[in-house]
Symmetry: C2
Subunit: 335 residues, 2 copies
Amino acid sequence: MKIIVDGFGGDNAPLAVLQGCELAVKEYGVDLLVTGDEEILKKTARENNISLDRIAFYHAPGVIGMEDEPTALLKEKSDCSMAAAFNLLKGGAGDAFVSGGSTGAIVIGANFIVKRIKGIKRAGLATVIPTINGCYMLMDAGATLDCKPETLTHFGMMGSIYMNKIMDVREPRVGLVNVGTEDTKGGELQQGAFSMMQNAPMNFIGNIEARDIPAGVADVAVADGFTGNVILKLTEGLGSMFSKKIKDMFMEGLGGKLSAVMMMGKIKDFKKSMDYTEYGGAPLLGVMKPVIKAHGSSNPKAFKNAIRQARDFAERNLIGEIEAAVQQMKNAGEE
Amino acid sequence: MKIIVDGFGGDNAPLAVLQGCELAVKEYGVDLLVTGDEEILKKTARENNISLDRIAFYHAPGVIGMEDEPTALLKEKSDCSMAAAFNLLKGGAGDAFVSGGSTGAIVIGANFIVKRIKGIKRAGLATVIPTINGCYMLMDAGATLDCKPETLTHFGMMGSIYMNKIMDVREPRVGLVNVGTEDTKGGELQQGAFSMMQNAPMNFIGNIEARDIPAGVADVAVADGFTGNVILKLTEGLGSMFSKKIKDMFMEGLGGKLSAVMMMGKIKDFKKSMDYTEYGGAPLLGVMKPVIKAHGSSNPKAFKNAIRQARDFAERNLIGEIEAAVQQMKNAGEE
């Protein structure tokens, strides 16, 4: 198993990337191919005593940043670490790819270099988010803003396969995010998706309201990329707000400070249970090869987790499962 | 000043409605006209010692429920308390209207009985939601699912006028909810709205991300009704989840219970600061008369607050302000 890693993706690259690679080799015994400016990568490893056992480099001097247009990946930035990685992935030099770089550029590279699975017209970025007593997959978190009923149906099917094969959820409950739970709710997009999803190969539970998502009403919450992106970011924003409010509550007055000491462990557990980076990166589903988007602010441990995720993605043959599901849906439609 | 009140709107109607009316008469000296089955209303008042000073009834025996199609208001349920109230409002029997009934039916009644302000094609439901240190108005919270750039522009203008005249915010900052803050972000709808909003009479601050809304990045967050409804409901759902997590943290173990005793006051303050029903009901903006949707689970105090809101809405001539803003925008476009 060989995983390709973008050496210059993320706020803490290349140091955190290389440290994550070292941890992953030790823990999972994978082989890694890291793209980027070889001289800088070697120097960073040397200066930080990072073992390069089972880690190879592929020289690509450029970097695509958050300020660059995502499409620059295919043009003026085609020499960058991410573009090189996508081309290596396409050519079969590795089994899966991990990057902490620009989400927009990753979506472009996946769609235009690696290309999509036959029958899937749009890729979706899947993010696993904590609920009150577990987690759910939000699909799509922002890769495809303008969706059709078929797009949402494919998102549901792919999310279901991921939750089943990678997160070990039996018959994942797939819900369509809507403004009400009744079958006829929503606009044209949701109404069209509802009837298509009812007949697709997955455990579709119908429309769900955003109010019920944090309580765990579904294992996969399907939404167009615009709505999904709003859900992801509002979850982050409200999480920060509540954490700050709780912190202020404990910092104020003697009662608060004493309580903070007594409850230190619980506060830490609470924070951890709300931290969605614990679940690793976000898989981009619908493309021909496994692609994992690590969080931009990933630390070495987060990169290590994303590499494990990429390995599982490749090992458990998710691409094959998705291809089979699309075929099954097509056959059912032709009957 | 006379406010029309739907006697049978809300989970706790008619008792909570009548109790709220009694409080409002005492506190604000308004005259009220309550619609519904007169016999039941009188009996409820008598049995609960509710003073009917300055409260008149208008007999309308039917009730439109949450399970009814909203459009039933215009047809088979045209004898209900809400339909009667809308007709009274249209005819000038009162200056404003408050209902805790079905949101869908209120939107229908406002659009088809009272009708919209000239130049405004869609009405929006505005909800005031707490932020870390204040509040913001979400517009639209679900009245109009399919929006055009012009719809969003009008939502921003109307929300701005409301926040200025009713919530006393000087030059309200109006932001467009989008997937990024750059000017070119989003789909067709957002891109079209962005350029139109830049030239409309309001303090438009550009695109905002859902992540920054709870931190108070804007006074008015503009979104289509689908996205807005998801924002409102996810805010509710995450609020419940965090409250439950905090409660569990305090209920567990001796340290937790001791802390709960020491921090009782702060926990109550925290809960209150997160309760968006404190801000009263949701105004439906864009129609010819003031309409306030009270929360379905409103208690007497919430109904009293919604009646005060309706009074302010009428007294401060919001309809006139909105008409003037629409005209100003029209003139600017013709220059």
